[in-house]
Amino acid sequence: MDSSKTMTMKEAVSRFVQDGDTVYLAGFTHMIPFAAGHEVIRQKKKDLVLARATPDIIYDQMIAAGCAKRLIFSYAGNPGVGSLRCFRRAHEKGIPKPLEIEEYTHFGLSGRLFAGATNMPFLPMRTNLGSDLPAQNPLMKVVKDPYSGDEVSVVPPLKPDVAVVHVQRADVNGNCHIWGIIGEQKDAAFAAKKVIISAEEIVDESVIRSDPNRTLVPDFLSHAVVHEPWCAHPSYVQGYYDRDNEFYVKWDEITKEHESTMKYIDEWVHGVESRSEYVSKLPPSKVDGLRPKEAYSSPVNYGSV
């Protein structure tokens, strides 16, 4: 046991996120670590390079709060709703500050992270050719396939300085299980130089070891383990709480102006100390309404003689 790794989100962000870092808050629609993003805002980190396939509301908030200087992404929309207005305000009008962009397709960005996680020199992929994207992004290159002679698009590895990966359950050392949509969580953890694992539940090591095929990453990859229930709200955690679709729709309204956005951030980010305070501020009916039904997996036997 290495209990020195367990800490609060405040401590983890303070110790492992530096101004100017390339940050990857993992999660493709699922388990987006909002609590980590809020802590970054509270601690006024700046000049961050924010990387995520889908910036989602969390990066919209961090951009509005002035933490970002550059966005690496592949789909900058509010999923199921429309635009990310803060991203657009920053990129189109420089409010609150200008935002550089570096853009890929989903395959390209998830490929960069996979290549980073597995330390490939570069990754060839069947896409990008024919699109105007490569002309705008010098990191996308073309090589000749030595077998067919055809031109092939390639992307370089992405190795963030720090990744935050939220999971359903982890032990105190950071061995962890996730299920549901598993997005780029594993690749983010393997690609990053520093890894913060946050978990809905801290469980005994034996729970993780009872199902090693479900392990996302073993403990030696992580630098901090944070017990952070409801970390992902308004995103969701399969089996723990559902996506707060209402809030995703509401965000469109909240962000109509920079001022209204900052009012939200003042109240819900700066106005609370921690995620637990944030959760207790949510209407109880909201919290209760997001609790899922039960649908347990059929267990499997790992026994040997």
């Binding site: 397709t105 989903h106 490929g111 069947r126 699109s131 549901g180 598993i182």
Partner: protein, 244 residues
């Protein structure tokens, strides 16, 4: 549009589904002529049996009871690049007569008038699935001579440009609007009206399309929705999130 799109799906095909209209169309087809249609979501869920209409492709109801869930890179690598997907639905802010789609920017890339969400998986889908079906409102600002930014390749400048890319996909297959259905000319790769929806004239289509619209020799009228189609569709969207 949902019903017309649903009719294009055949049993046992695999279809990459986005939320909204495509999701409805795919689920409608599955209830009717294509019970073994395989629904694949960008988020990694395969063979989903959603208990309700999801708002986003990342809805937990797409996972509960799915056949399989894999990671994001795996989804694009094993399924899309792997050539395992038959049909993909795309939309976009602009489309030209060769089916090239813009979902990135209005204006220029460096000085955008409107910054749109970007490719997401669209360019990857356009490059790798056997048939691309585009569902879009028929508006002049959407149908353009030249897209401001080419996000997802159609037939580029006709089939020649497409062939040079050596993509494994089949390219654009149909464009379904509120007025008509276009398919693509086998030789020139140009969008061609093949069916007018009931009550729509070819003049109306031309009025809303900036280029000289090509019309198929055997132009038909889209068969009207059957009672079965309408009832099934309404049951799929009881809260009328997508249907007015």
């Amino acid at each position: 549009m949902v019903i017309v799109a649903a009719r294009e799906l055949k049993d046992r095909e695999s279809v990459l589904v986005g939320v909204g209209i495509p999701n409805l169309a795919a689920n409608l087809a599955k209830k009717l002529q294509a019970p073994n249609l395989l629904l694949v979501y960008e988020s990694g869920a395969v063979g989903s049996n959603p208990s309700r209409m999801p708002l986003s492709i990342g809805d937990p109801c797409l996972v509960s009871g799915a056949k399989s869930v894999c990671s994001m890179y795996e989804q694009f690598a094993y399924y899309l690049q792997g050539g395992r997907i038959d049909v993909g639905f795309l939309g976009g802010a602009q489309i030209d007569k060769y089916g090239n789609i813009n979902s990135t920017i209005i204006g220029t890339y460096k000085t955008p008038k409107v910054r749109l969400p970007g490719s997401g998986g669209a360019c990857d889908i356009a490059s790798n699935v056997k048939k691309i079906i585009v569902i879009t409102p028929h508006e002049k600002r959407r149908f353009v001579e030249k897209v401001d930014f080419l996000t997802s390749p159609g037939f580029i400048d006709g089939k020649e440009g497409w062939r040079k890319l050596k993509l494994q996909g089949g390219g654009p297959y149909a464009v379904i609007t509120n007025l008509c259905t276009f398919k693509f000319d086998e030789v020139t790769g140009e969008m061609t009206v093949t069916a007018l929806h009931e009550g729509v004239t070819i003049e109306q289509v031309q009025e809303n399309t900036p280029w000289n619209v090509k019309v198929a020799e055997e132009l038909v009228t889209t068969p009207p929705p059957t009672e079965m189609e309408v009832t099934t569709l309404r049951a799929l969207d009881p809260d009328k999130i997508y249907l007015r």
